[in-house]
């Protein structure tokens, strides 16, 4: 029985459980529903949960455990000379056996007999069934594959029986426990709570997954390149292995990338923070309801525009515009019409990213400013302060920690932004202070190192993972700090 069919049957049992459970509860109540502890639906759900949950869990355990058991049994049957080989080779062989067994199960009994009779035809016969083999199988593999198939079939039969028994038994047990004072609702809600907890743990799992998916490769990188060279190196130049040379060393200094990341982020924040903050102040303190209802969603559109669109905007409009304007400026001043702003530069990328970040700053700050208690506002106005004095001297200081927290979150977004920088800032990993020149960021290098011509086993590619982890840690620190500050702020009003 296939897994999906099995799941379907279990689900049907569950639905049936729900129906009989609710009915039984209603019957017990005998017309006076309030004599039940919970509504009949809860009793039904309780039965359904007991019918389905244990069965599905058992199924999951079986699905994980049985291949492990089967694999070790099959491996036990390997010839001694195979067992003597390295674990990796054995794994490979086992993989191949897996493929063969998949192929075998597609054959008719006659074809199978024919195949056992003449093992050399295996590759062609199986290929015809759409199962590719990397090489001709060794004779023991055929036998092992057959064992594997038999055990898998047996396991699948057991699995179905087990799941169905558990489903029916669970449902029946739950059904029997139905009594008027039985606290079905509490039980059902308990299960719901567990589900909610499960949903929240996905965030944790994602983090674990991210770290895990980068860690091994990052470790490989650090095996090849000393950590201090990476973290404190000031030159980024992971060049190709010079033509012909086998060794592929390079310089993997993180510092220039970090500098570029921070510089571009800084420029972006320099654009986004004043504009966003003033926009927020205007909208929350001055604007009429009408203006606000138009301006706010329009500004928020800026947050919804895909970053790749910003990237193109930077590439085809803002960059050339800045370049041309700088040429005009220098022409006016020096008479030499050569641009001092490059089309791709820290300024271009930072500026466009800043525009993208405006709504983040303005929306977050807007919320925080409106959260400042009205009493403080009244207090200041009542003393004869003007609106702007009230904002500057009372509201902003009071909201400052919250705003700083919001800004840190915005900053961490700036640090993680990729597409705009790829298109607008270029890839030159340089350390310099001129905002009119290109620099590059960590994220850009992650993309480039992963998608180049580079040899995928070399540090040149692996460095992407080290960069990824580093960036992850940086944003994590920013966020911890942001939380810390926001907490402090909350305490003031609670």
């Amino acid at each position: 029985m296939s897994i999906s069919l099995l799941l379907l049957i279990v689900a049907v049992i569950g639905v049936a459980g729900y129906l009989v459970g609710s009915q039984r509860a209603s019957a017990l109540a005998g017309g006076k529903l309030s004599s039940l502890h919970s509504r009949p639906g809860y009793y039904g759900s309780f039965v359904a949960i007991w019918a389905m949950l244990p069965a599905v869990l058992a199924l999951l355990v079986w699905l994980v455990a049985s291949p492990i058991y089967i694999s070790s049994t099959v491996r036990d049957g390997f010839p001694d000379e195979v067992k003597a080989e390295s674990q990796a080779t054995q794994n490979l062989n086992y993989n191949m056996i897996g493929a063969i067994s998949r192929g075998l199960s597609l054959l008719t009994p006659e074809e199978r007999t024919a195949l056992y009779a003449d093992g050399t035809t295996a590759r062609t016969v199986l290929a015809a069934k759409g199962v590719p083999l990397a090489a001709d199988p060794a004779p023991y593999m055929l036998k092992a594959a057959d064992d594997l198939n038999r055990m898998t079939t047996a396991s699948s039969t057991f699995r179905s029986i087990l799941a169905l028994i558990i489903a029916v038994a669970g449902g029946a047990l739950a059904y029997r426990s139905i009594a008027p004072r039985f606290r079905a609702r509490n039980r059902v809600e308990g299960v719901m709570l567990v589900a909610l907890i499960g949903a929240s743990s996905i965030a944790i799992l994602t983090t674990v997954g991210i770290v895990a998916s980068m860690l091994t490769e990052a470790v490989h990188f650090f095996n090849a390149v000393p950590a201090w060279e990476f973290f404190f190196g000031t030159v980024w130049d992971p060049r190709f292995a010079a033509a012909g040379a086998t060794d592929s060393s390079g310089q993997f200094g993180l510092i220039p990338l970090l500098a570029g990341t921070l510089y571009i982020g800084l420029v972006a924040m320099l654009v986004a923070v004043p504009v966003g903050l003033f926009a927020a102040i205007y909208m929350s303190e001055y604007a009429s309801r009408h203006v606000r209802s138009v301006a706010k969603p329009l500004l928020e559109v800026l947050a919804g525009i895909p970053t790749i669109v910003y990237g193109f905007f930077a590439l085809v409009t803002v960059g050339p515009f800045l370049r041309d304007i700088s040429a005009q400026l220098s022409g006016l001043v020096t008479g030499n019409y050569s641009s001092f702003i490059q089309a791709q530069s820290v300024l271009t990328a930072g500026f466009v990213m800043g525009i993208m970040l405006i709504p983040y700053v303005s929306s977050l700050s807007d919320d925080i400013i409106t959260a400042v208690p009205r009493a403080l506002r009244d207090g200041s106005l009542g003393l004869g302060a003007t609106r702007s004095e009230t904002i500057k001297r009372v509201i902003l200081p009071a909201a400052l920690p919250g705003i700083v927290g919001a800004l840190l979150m915005t900053a961490s977004r700036a640090v993680g932004e990729t597409m705009i920088v790829v298109l607008a800032a270029g890839v030159a990993a340089r350390m310099q202070l001129n905002p009119f020149e290109p620099m590059t960021t960590v994220t850009v290098k992650i993309v480039n190192q992963l998608t180049g011509d580079l040899e995928f086993t070399s540090p040149q590619t692996l460095v992407a993972f080290a960069l990824g982890i580093t960036l992850f840690v940086i944003t994590l620190c920013l966020n911890i700090y942001a939380l810390y500050i926001v907490r402090k702020y909350r305490e003031q009003y609670e």
């Binding site: 926009a279 919804g304 790749i308 932004e417 994220t443 992963l450 992850f472």
Partner: protein, 442 residues
């Protein structure tokens, strides 16, 4: 009140009793007030200005992509070329592999009056027709073999270079050898345009075709469907999971170090560079779980993980904003905490949740980098039937077209951006309508 007549001396007294008027610097303070207000307006104007600039720059570059030059001429389905030996009854493959481009070329040459034996001219004539004519004519013939031997008017795509030239996007001042279209072809173009054979049509192909190396036949059909699948997956997964997680964290979780950890963690996930999610998706969904590469399913899962933090953050804020009095009211009536949340708090928080979801979806819709690693930055010609089939996404298509060498892709890139923005707006409008429903406060 009292009715006593007034005396002048008393008036003086009233004025004198007023305390000395203090100088509290009103002029300067009001100037500062006006300046401050002005800054605020300037900030909003600045933001809006760039929004409009951005939209203007995209639209002005891309609107031409919605038109496509087509050639309508009578085409002779010559038996000589298609099925010389009349084998089609016995060998249907014959009709499939026939040399249809020649059919179209000959038809155009006839209209232009080019002699069939002028090979150089014939090649240039061929260069005016899109290669996609092969499939178009083949489909016509296989659908109706009786057409062979007759002459029918057919409308087919002009070659991308001709299209660009016809739209005036090729600089005709440069030497002939430095451009993709020759002087003779320009002449023919004008001739065709005058006779009405060459004209611009609405470019439906842009919306329905899959990727193509020929700009004139390239469309965002596959990308559109891929994006649609992914958005559905993101919506179906991230909304319930995100809401469930937020409910737990906001309503049930004890406030302790561990919940702090989760909170920081979620904020951090919102800031993790999107390409890192691509690495995660490749490792978990493709390599570990064995889902197919390039599939919208995997893309959707990756984007789901990426969107979750945004939705959780927004949902928690929305839950927080529901007045506690509603909770106490329900609890006081004997509703359980779970019932309170699901019956009262959640419906009230819905508008905020939807807003967060929209922001998250918009973010997901515009993502390219994570899709790169799971094989969705790809050339996919066939429209995907299920989310398990290979597909691309709109931003990916934009990215790929932007890197094409052909001139005709430039306008298409902006055209695709317009399509993406329209998609975005439609999504937003949908959510706003939905939000309206929930916002019906009594």
């Amino acid at each position: 009140m009292s009715q006593v007549s007034m005396s002048p001396s008393m008036a003086a007294l009233g004025a004198a009793s007023r305390p000395e008027r203090r100088d509290i610097g009103l002029r300067g303070r009001y100037a500062a007030e006006r300046r401050f207000r002005l800054y605020g307006m300037a900030a909003i104007a600045f933001g809006l200005l760039f929004l409009f600039l951005l939209l203007f720059s995209v639209v002005s570059k891309g609107y031409t992509a919605f038109q496509q030059s087509m050639i309508t001429i009578p085409v002779e389905f010559s038996e000589q070329i298609i099925d010389k030996d009349n084998e089609r009854a016995t060998n249907p493959q014959k009709l499939v592999s026939a040399n249809y481009p020649v059919v179209a070329r000959d038809a155009l040459a006839r209209v232009l009056g080019v002699a069939a034996d002028d090979r150089a001219a014939m090649r240039e004539v061929n260069g005016m027709i899109s290669d996609s004519v092969r499939v178009q004519l083949r489909n016509l013939v296989t659908a109706n073999p009786a057409i062979i031997g007759t002459t029918q008017p057919v409308t087919f795509l002009a070659h991308g270079d001709l299209d660009s030239a016809f739209k005036g996007q090729i600089n005709l001042d440069v030497p002939e050898k430095d451009r993709k279209i020759s002087d003779r072809q320009i002449g023919w173009m004008n001739q065709l345009a005058e006779s009405g054979a060459l004209s611009k049509h609405f470019n439906t192909g842009l919306f329905v075709n899959g990727a193509s190396s020929r700009p004139e036949a390239a469309g965002v059909g596959v990308a559109l469907i891929g994006s649609l699948y992914m958005m559905l997956i993101v919506l179906v997964l991230s909304l319930p999971i995100g809401v469930a997680a937020s409910i737990y964290l906001e309503e049930f979780a004890p406030k302790n170090r561990f919940t702090d950890l989760i909170e920081v963690n979620i904020n951090n996930l919102a800031a993790v560079p999107s390409i890192v999610y691509g690495l995660l998706g490749l490792a978990v969904f493709v390599n570990f779980a064995g889902f197919p590469r390039s599939a919208a399913l995997v893309g959707g899962l990756v984007l789901t993980l990426m969107t979750l933090p945004t939705i959780i953050i927004a949902t928690r804020a929305a839950l927080k904003a529901v007045p506690p009095s509603i909770r106490s009211a329900a609890l006081g009536l004997g509703a359980s905490k779970m019932q309170t949340v699901f019956h009262h708090v959640l419906p009230l928080a819905m508008p905020g949740i939807l807003t967060g979801t929209i922001i998250g979806l918009a973010h997901a819709l515009g993502e390219t980098a994570p899709l790169l690693l799971i094989g969705m930055v790809a050339f996919v010609a066939d429209v995907p039937a299920t989310p398990m089939d290979p597909a691309t996404a709109l931003p990916v298509q934009i990215y790929m077209w932007a890197n094409e060498a052909e001139r005709a892709f430039v306008e298409r890139t902006s055209g695709a951006i317009i399509v993406l923005l329209i998609f975005l707006i439609l999504m937003n409008v949908g959510a706003i309508l939905l939000r309206r429903r929930f916002e019906r406060r009594w």
